[in-house]
Amino acid sequence: MVDSQVVLNGQTIAYSCYAIAIILLMLWFGLNITKTGKGSKVSSALFYSFVAFLIVLGVSLHIVTYNTIPWASMDLNRKEIKADKVFEISVENHKFILPSEKLVINVNDKAMFKVYSKDLTYGFGLFRTDNSMVFQMQVVPGHLNDILWKFDKPGVYTIRSTEYSGPKGAQMILKDVIEVVAN
């Protein structure tokens, strides 16, 4: 499965290009609107073309990501997919309680994390050693919070709560407790 860092890099490039383009466009507009010349009515064809472009863009974004970001479809269909490993984790009093001291996963295995909160709403996120995020989900009390993930290379990951649960929850961090190992 493609690493989430690759997706983030793609997003960074795409949004940066867009941001630069729209800033330059507004700069151009600001300069030209004050220049001497005759005001001209914008054609309705241009307007409707712009509307069509927005519709295509809005719809295609999700179609493209659904077909290129593998965890999107895996997430929607996770109940039909058999996990290679299942980890049941509970959270209470701002503490994660793991089934074992370390959670060991084989490369290319599909791991299911089932997280239950016994009091507040928390978050459950996995982070690389450079603090970048692999994935996250919300942990809502009274409900099953499950996520299926496939790790494609060996590594060590930290669990951190990604949702605010009061001042006591700011440092809910279990460092390097997930190990993904080569088969």
């Binding site: 949004y15 914008v42 929607l76 009091d119 989900m137 996520i147 009061g166």
Partner: protein, 560 residues
Amino acid sequence: MLLKWLPISSLNIKTEDMNFKDTFMNGEQGLFKPATLTPMQKLVLRFVVIGLIYYGFAVIEGMIMRIYQIQPIEAIPDFQYFAILTAHPLVGIFGSTYSIVFGAFLFLVPFLMKKPLWSYKLGNWTCILIGTGTLTFWLAGFFTHYAPLYTLYWPLPADFSQFNPLGGTFFVLGIAIVMLGTVFFVINIFKTIVYTPEGWEKQPSKKLFLSAMGLSGMTNLFRKKENQKEHLVSLPVAAIARGTVDTMLNAGIILFTGVLILVYLIAHQVGFDLKNSAVDALLYKNWFWWGLDLIADGLVLIFVAGTWYLLAMLITGKDLFMQNIARAALLLELVVSWTVWSHHLMSDQAQPGILKVVSGEMVTAFELITQGLAFFITLATLWSARPLKMTNPLKFLLGGLLGFALAVPAGIMQADLGLNRILHNTQWIIGPHVHVAILVGLTMTLYSAIYILFPIVTNGAKLYSQKLANFHFWAHLIGGIGMGAFMGMAGLKGMLRRTIYLNGEFNLYMILAGICGSLLLLAFLAFFYNIVMSVGLKGVIGIFTPSKLNEKELLPAEEK
């Protein structure tokens, strides 16, 4: 002597005929005379002053948090930090934005409809309630550190192992007072649109209401040009009415939620501990986000689109480009704003997948279309009137348009099943999306409105310094976009929002965001100073004294 220490001295700004003390006391050239103001002019100016003071609160809180993200401040313990984090968006939205927007609209609706406000007294109460309500919840947070965040995820607001229930009670009461003021605003706006003033011919209330809701705009789309019906209310009034519907629904949701939390808070204080599990946390989250999104995706986008249209027409003196489409788009946006809430729950695994896809992804994508339409229509209207002079209202309007052009696509990206998994609750959400939308998009639009209304509501007072206004524009624009960009970069590297980093993990981005935040602070100080020097200290005080003129008159007789 004092002038030497003020930033304007370096900009070589000095009035010719008056010394600093005279200008500070009486305003630029003594042109602002509070005694000439009508009660309605004073009312709108009071709203603006209160809004700017609370904006100052939000900016200072923001700067404290910017510093904290670089290096936690020892004098501020973490629970105080989270109390600031809780108060910051609420003071910014309710104390500042609501004050400025409500004040402007309570003036503009009667101004555009050429009839008096339905109730001046109710307008005054709105101002008082929003001002005191904001102060109440801010003080409750400051002294008791009640900090469940604006999200209030159940059952955090009723977690008495972390929060003081008495503090929570005052906090919720403060919010409820603001909501009461909001309900008064809603009543006043709709009554003003449909009522018949004394001595007038009977007004067609129902038709006025339907026109304000955008029905005439929608039906005109399906009529031949010669059969199209005339609109009974102008487009900006229709936009205000449409946004006011969301404001009303939002107030209802927040009031209901407040009562629910109050029941738990008061029960605990009288010795009964109610079971938190009696309220389903996910259902509550859906309910609350449905209401909260009426501010973010309904009220803000609709009010902003309406304000853009009004500003474009006032700046150019021309009709709006594609007016019927604009009216129809506002009606569409109203429906969209009621059905987009699920994009906030895309990381909630118990949330049904169908809601994530339909509401979270597809309906949310419509915002790209509705806001894109408003963006295009405003630019096309301006373009049709070129050449235009680059006035303060025009440059701030362009800044506001740019802000939403940057922030809306950032929001659409995060409202995606794939991307949300790695963006939710990171600094990406709060930086390039929320802060760029609010600080650059919304606030610069509001500044544009303030600059254009300033001579109208002050009976021709003159701005103290154009150089300061220019500095205000560039510092705010660069500071706002820069801060959002660096927060976004940190978010893409995994930095979370709503937490504290103790070891400087993201310091490069946070220092750069802090520098940009300082620019925002300087921009606000320059603007505030410019306004105070324009109207003078006596003028500011005069705004809060009663007017002897008729409450029904918007402007003094000679100004009309």
